[in-house]
């Protein structure tokens, strides 16, 4: 039998080894991306067009395409997420209906992203007969992040103590006025945080948009909604398929690093938004 001290020491060493391994993997990953990425990344890489299927030139239209997709997705998702969260939090009185809504949103969150791509293909292209369009991509990304944004907003609303609602109603405010003056300001941080986290995820997605909204090369600024865009993740995919070409591979790292920087900016903003916008409640 091992003594207790020996057991404790063994256990602590095991933990330390686990921690060391996970840290090492993380550091290796970040190091590799930084090291390889910065070989390609430069101001001219960001602003110049891709040439030779991406092996030369930069990521100008891929970056713009990705930004268009998530900005429009953000505009689309906000009214629906806010509406759903508000309705769920302030207007649903039946416990049962509330749980149904929660369950639906929860399971929506578990759908693999490729399914959204397939869904887009079937609904927009096969049924509605639309061609390839970047707008469909934005719509699919908006649908994909809807649960994230809704849940985050709803949680912020649920955290508002009921006494705030009663205090406002007792002053003679209508329910709509109460929602506008009490609920919205005190849940804004949830909406913004959820949105930024959702977008950080959306910008890195390839699966939902690759059938219907993007093209792999030769795309510039879209002239109408019936055109595809090129995006960073699909560009990386295309470059990685030319792995034997060292130039293409270098640019793939450069594009990855750009994508990661955007994701980190979005996550950082989410972190700041949570702290800055959170209401200073006294209870």
């Amino acid at each position: 039998m091992l003594s207790r001290t020996v057991k404790n020491t063994l256990f602590a060493s095991a933990l330390r080894i686990a921690l060391f391994i996970s840290l090492a993997i993380l550091i290796f990953l970040i190091g590799a991306i930084l090291l390889e990425g910065f070989k390609a990344l430069s101001p001219s890489f960001i602003v110049s067009e891709a040439r030779d299927f991406g092996a030369a030139g930069g990521i100008r239209y891929q970056l713009l395409g990705s930004l268009i997709l998530i900005i429009v997705a953000a505009v689309l998702v906000v009214p629906f997420a806010l509406g759903t969260a508000l309705y769920r939090s302030e207007y649903v009185t039946s416990e049962k209906l509330g749980r149904c809504i929660d369950l639906t949103i929860f399971s929506l969150n578990g759908i693999p992203s490729i399914t959204y791509g397939l869904f887009g293909l079937i609904v927009f292209v096969n049924i509605l007969g639309m061609g390839v369009s970047w707008l469909i991509g934005s719509i699919l990304l908006a649908i994909m992040i809807l649960p994230t944004v809704t849940v985050s907003t709803h949680q912020a609303m649920r955290a508002i103590p009921n006494i705030y609602r009663e205090s406002a109603l007792a002053l003679g405010l209508t329910r709509a006025e109460m929602v506008r003056k009490v609920i919205l300001p005190q849940s804004l941080h949830g909406l913004v945080t959820g949105l930024l986290i959702g977008l950080a995820r959306a910008i890195g997605e390839t699966a939902p948009i690759m059938f219907v909204a993007t093209a792999f090369s030769g795309v510039t600024w879209p002239q109408s909604i019936y055109e595809p865009v090129s995006t960073l993740p699909t560009h990386i995919l295309a470059l990685a398929q030319q792995a034997t070409n060292p130039d293409a591979l270098r640019n793939a790292w450069g594009a990855s690093l750009s994508l990661i920087i955007i994701v980190m900016i979005l996550s950082g903003l989410a972190f700041i938004a949570r702290r800055k916008l959170e209401p200073q409640r006294s209870m």
């Binding site: 009663e166 205090s167 406002a168 300001p185 409640r281 006294s282």
Partner: protein, 265 residues
């Protein structure tokens, strides 16, 4: 069998601010306020006292219908506010609530400035900047808070002390110009000094407003009440002037409760 109407014992007939006719309140299957018929006089302070769970808050919250958002709540009978039915005598529920203001046990200021808190329930959009400022000053003065906050109306309301926050809650209720003030244990969550300040404030307000107040503090009741309504298990045991209730009552339950002895009614 309908109960006889409860008249104030030891008080001349006054105009009534609130009258209840067969008022009952239910949570699900439980009746927590049972068939009350009574009249509360205009102006002055009426204290509602009684053991915990006796239905004091439920009664109070029936008067401005703030309980109606709680699922499972139901009321029967009639509530008359200055002779208008609370249910349909007003244009809508917001008008009723503007007439019948309410302040809760725990001060609840909104996360905005002191000034915006005072104006929170003021809906008149045509008020000029000057009129708004005047309204803020008037309300804060009535709530005995003006001197302490006049120089920092724009700072966040959460920076005030609890006692000040509670006076701000009163100020913001007064800014809507109610006739009746419902106070549910307004001094219960503040320190003794602030509680005394609030008592003085309530005494000063009672000439202009009808104040109906729930309290657990018997001594406070003796200090500020004009009339006392004693509830037990959802029923009115007795109602009368403070003098009558504390020294002349013949009912043993009232005697025991108001002498702060253990009461198992």
């Amino acid at each position: 069998m309908p109960k006889p109407e409860l008249k104030l014992v030891g008080v001349e007939t006054q105009t009534s601010a609130v009258s209840l006719k067969g008022f009952q309140a239910w949570f699900g299957e439980t009746c927590v306020v049972q068939d009350m018929t009574l009249e509360l006089p205009a102006n002055g302070v009426t204290c509602i006292v009684g053991p915990s769970g006796s239905g004091k808050s439920t009664l109070l919250r029936g008067l401005n219908r703030i309980n109606e958002d709680i699922s499972g709540y139901a009321m029967k009978g009639q509530v008359l506010i200055q002779d208008s039915c609370a249910k349909d005598g007003f244009k809508d529920i917001t008008e009723l609530r503007a007439k019948v203001g309410m302040v809760f046990q725990r001060p609840c200021v909104f996360p905005c400035s002191i000034k915006d808190n005072v104006l929170f329930g003021v809906k008149n959009k045509r008020l000029s900047k000057l009129e708004r400022a005047a309204l803020v000053e008037e309300s804060l003065k009535s709530a005995a808070l003006w001197k302490e906050v006049a120089h920092r109306l724009d700072s966040p309301a959460s920076t005030l002390s609890l006692g000040q926050q509670q006076r701000l809650c009163i100020a913001r209720t007064l800014a809507v110009k109610p006739d009746i003030l419902l106070l549910d244990e307004p001094t219960a969550s503040v320190d003794p000094t602030s509680a005394r300040a609030l008592e003085t404030l309530i005494k000063n307000l009672k000439d202009d407003y009808t104040i109906i107040m729930v309290t657990h503090d018997i001594r406070q009741t003796r200090r500020i009440a004009d009339n006392v309504l004693f509830l037990c298990d959802g029923q009115v045991i007795e109602m009368g002037s403070t003098d009558h209730m504390f020294s002349k009552t013949a009912k043993p339950k009232t005697k025991t409760y108001l002498s702060e002895e253990f009461c198992d009614c």
